[in-house]
Subunit: 197 residues, 4 copies
């Protein structure tokens, strides 16, 4: 079974997810710039979620690039990932409308956490299908960033109970970690580990 | 006429169907977790429908994989299937907003029933175009699961008149039947038939 | 310039148009079947528009199949067609919400008329780019159905001023004319012309 | 890394952006034609934005046609462009609902300005990846139109503070500049420059 339709379908779903979030930015009824002010938290949430969905699309693109073929398990692992991604607009809207309070920040972190878990399940399914000594396995490597992210999401959720903005900061940090080009951060991690020893 | 655009168009429509359902999860106006509680039935409906649409995409993917070319009849049979799939968000929303009462459960079952009928019409059109002794015919086989599903949807609709949750349970059961990997369930069916004889 | 992205983009836009129309079917707040009754005109409008958009996708598919390459003029003629198609959800919603009165019926016919005009402009652009003695020109033929449709839309608009349902009937008739497989209707037209002489 | 998925994903996002704008055309509750009158500014905004998104899709199509392969920087530059394009429905809605007053006109111009900046960043990323002496560099040329547009958007924003309709006129002018086939306008620019010397 080839991977083309899985890519096309995922592209479609991710494209819709990334775009319907903008519908939460409700058109103001006044023409003054001051009418844009109350939209500030919604806009901030939109920017962060746009970046997160962009990161997932980017990673999905890289991952599938190294994939030769897919099976039923991979299709469902992919749908599972898309399911959690599809909840991002909902938690984004909740976070934006409620000005970064604990509830929405925890929910947002939980959905990010589940997306990361779903992504690592997808990786597991792909490796099980392709074998350990393939270009796919090399492309994925140790998936250090993925594992760090999962831990950081849990940290963000925990911190959000004390101060919601702390949780938000952690999520921003994870996004920044993914935005920095791979090689540099991997070198950094390697250097830091070398420094510790 | 080749099948690529039919696949691409179906992927697009199914991707939109699966994603607009999440819009029924209305963003709560309070930041407390308790604000998520009333969304429970909407969320449950969303999960079930996401799985159903995922099953259809999966099956469509498998079916079209074995297809060589399409004609006008196939295009319309495919659009007919997409029409009934497009009603899933509507009945999902109705079911979610009305807490699994008879009306919405019957309507949901009816749309699932029509989707299944439309899918078997699509199979029929494809077989008529390709002939009985092809890889497509082998790939489809006796379509036992499809036929069982149609009967079970009718059973679910009938049961919903007595107790709505019974109908809902049947629909969940059909979804589970499709989620279990093919070979195992087919072996089971074969074993059960052997046991009966 | 190749045609693949034009096809993919058109598929995307048409898939979204066909799917967002279903959002006009507002989820009822009561679980009784009687709550579905007021949705009847909206549903009827949805079915007709789904068929029309399906016909356009089908014809677009056939047309582009014979196309070798596209230029800037073709891209814009295609966007012009997509523009008028994108107004179908609006007039469908208006027609559905206002129970087939003159205003919405005329507006619906006008949009169908403009879609048909845009489609024939697209054909013109493609023929100008490919030349008259090509497989494309043969595939299009005299485009008799397209020309008949344009006249019938105008007839429907005119009739709607006397009785709205007459206009609606004409639009249904045009859709039926396109649904009937090509060869049969072309033979019919030929026979009728022969009978007249 | 090949460019196919970047094209497919961009097509998906742009197709959704161009289509969800029509949702701002709220279905009137009266069947009279007079009910369409208040929609006039919304419709005008929709037409202009449809043309702008169409221009971006067209240019993206041309640009990517000459591209051989993409890297991480290009993927993010493309997502950055899609981000600003995704805000077009919002400012379109604001402009349409508030009858072309200064606030929305300035906001609309600002988003167009950022789209143009993002597009030129994308061009920069592609040139950095492909090198200066390639078919891509030739296809882009001096990107004179792109640079003129950026200046004109700023002019439109400045004029909108004095009279909103002046800003609107400038945006219409830029769209017209892009709609006129390339060679003619480039010849004109060349002639005008020759005339000045």
């Amino acid at each position: 079974m080839n991977k083309n339709r899985l890519e096309a379908f995922s592209d479609g779903v991710i494209a819709i997810i990334i775009t319907i979030m903008v519908l939460e930015l409700k058109v103001p009824h006044h023409p003054d710039f001051s009418a844009l002010l109350p939209l500030w938290p919604v806009f901030m949430s939109y920017v962060l979620s746009f970046i997160y969905v962009g990161i997932y699309w980017n990673n999905h693109h890289h991952l599938m690039h190294a994939v030769k073929e897919v099976n039923g398990g991979v299709l469902w692992a992919n749908l599972h990932l898309l399911f959690w991604l599809s909840l991002i607009p909902f938690v984004t809207g909740w976070m934006g409308e409620n000005h970064f309070e604990t509830g929405p920040i925890v929910a947002y972190g939980f959905v990010l956490f589940m997306c990361a878990v779903a992504y690592s399940i997808l990786i597991g399914r792909l490796l099980a299908h392709h074998g350990k000594n393939t270009t796919l396995a090399e492309a994925i490597g140790s998936d250090r960033k993925g594992k760090i992210s999962i831990v950081l999401y849990l940290l963000g959720i925990a911190l959000a109970w004390f101060a919601a903005w702390l949780g938000f900061l952690v999520y921003v940090g994870v996004a920044v970690m993914w935005l920095i080009p791979d090689r540099r951060i991997e070198q950094k991690v390697v250097e830091e580990e070398a420094a510790r020893l």
